[in-house]
Symmetry: C3
Subunit: 167 residues, 3 copies
Amino acid sequence: MPEGARAGAADLRTLRWEIEEFNTEYAAVLDAGRVADWPDFFTEDAIYRITGRENWDAKLPVGLIYCEGMGMLRDRALAISKTTMFAPRYLLHQIGNTRVHSVDAAGIVAAEANYALFETLVDERTTLQQVGRYHDRFVRAGGRLRLKERHCVYDSVIIDTALIYPV
Amino acid sequence: MPEGARAGAADLRTLRWEIEEFNTEYAAVLDAGRVADWPDFFTEDAIYRITGRENWDAKLPVGLIYCEGMGMLRDRALAISKTTMFAPRYLLHQIGNTRVHSVDAAGIVAAEANYALFETLVDERTTLQQVGRYHDRFVRAGGRLRLKERHCVYDSVIIDTALIYPV
Amino acid sequence: MPEGARAGAADLRTLRWEIEEFNTEYAAVLDAGRVADWPDFFTEDAIYRITGRENWDAKLPVGLIYCEGMGMLRDRALAISKTTMFAPRYLLHQIGNTRVHSVDAAGIVAAEANYALFETLVDERTTLQQVGRYHDRFVRAGGRLRLKERHCVYDSVIIDTALIYPV
């Protein structure tokens, strides 16, 4: 789509498919424990945040996790991959309800999607670790979409305090 | 598609995309607590029902909730928005497995989709409030799809007895 | 797509839609308890397996359930349909995050999808029976897709030991 063009319904639908595929790859990387590859989904100046719905609705800047820029994303990924996981667990993201809101004159795509994150600890039943919504801004860079902003807004007020892994 | 035309596979797929987008908006409105906007997804003569799978399979007309026509839908929405919510909670719908069965000569689209409804009460862990299936009939009115019938058929036999909010 | 052709991004996306529709029908058949129709989703020489993620990651051949060929699939379906279900229950699959990896020269499509399987026993709350991922190989036979291989790899380490129903 040329710069400055207004996105029509057909463009938004095509973007939805592309974002669905993006999110499927994103989830697969995290679910496989490939956290070192996680920063590749973001732009150099990206913002990544995990915050509660109460904070989000109140427009509070604070959150559980906040990264600004590739350096912080890579630091985070490195720290996690070096940490002996406190307790072995499997994660599985189910992402759906993808909505594309708009594409602005600069080509920034505003979108949302719901996620359910299922967690399985050894010798325990699978539980809902958290459910929430991604509030995203995508840009096209190097021929593919990347996240300029991802705000993971969780409904779950009580979550595992040991959460260090990206969502 | 012209009236009376038989829908081919390509038409059914295009309808699937449209219904996915409809359901995503529907869920977003409910999840945001915008219950006053909920009747807009329906036609003037719409039927809305929440019922158990046992009742549905037995073709019993009864259900937990039954609305017939825009008046009853609006009454319900108004009653809820005026009620101080008994206990604050967040809801999140995950809708998937969308199937379009047919389009009849009158343009009525028969479709289904699965839903999982996650509920989070303050200071509690997120739980599955209910899972179930929408059995829908859509019509095109004013250039967009609207529900002529939505039967929410839940698997969950034990659900919060305080359920008053639409699904 | 002609034999030997390399699948482009557009072909993979079209396949994704087709596989989403396949999986939606597959889930609907199982969720409706129509287990006798379940073998129809497979080829004559199909492999069907349910195994844990630990086994899968270690490339162990063993699993909870293993069927090779239509005979074993039909035997399994027959055994289940003849068994008085130990405890009546409703099942609901939510399938998402569908990924199409490749189409090889012989037309075999390698794909994956995540599933969440919700189970509801009479007079109990709905629970997560298991979450996991389908690792699939599809072929086109008789004008439609069929499974040549489906490996259901569950995250859930503790699952109902009474599990006999296909996933």
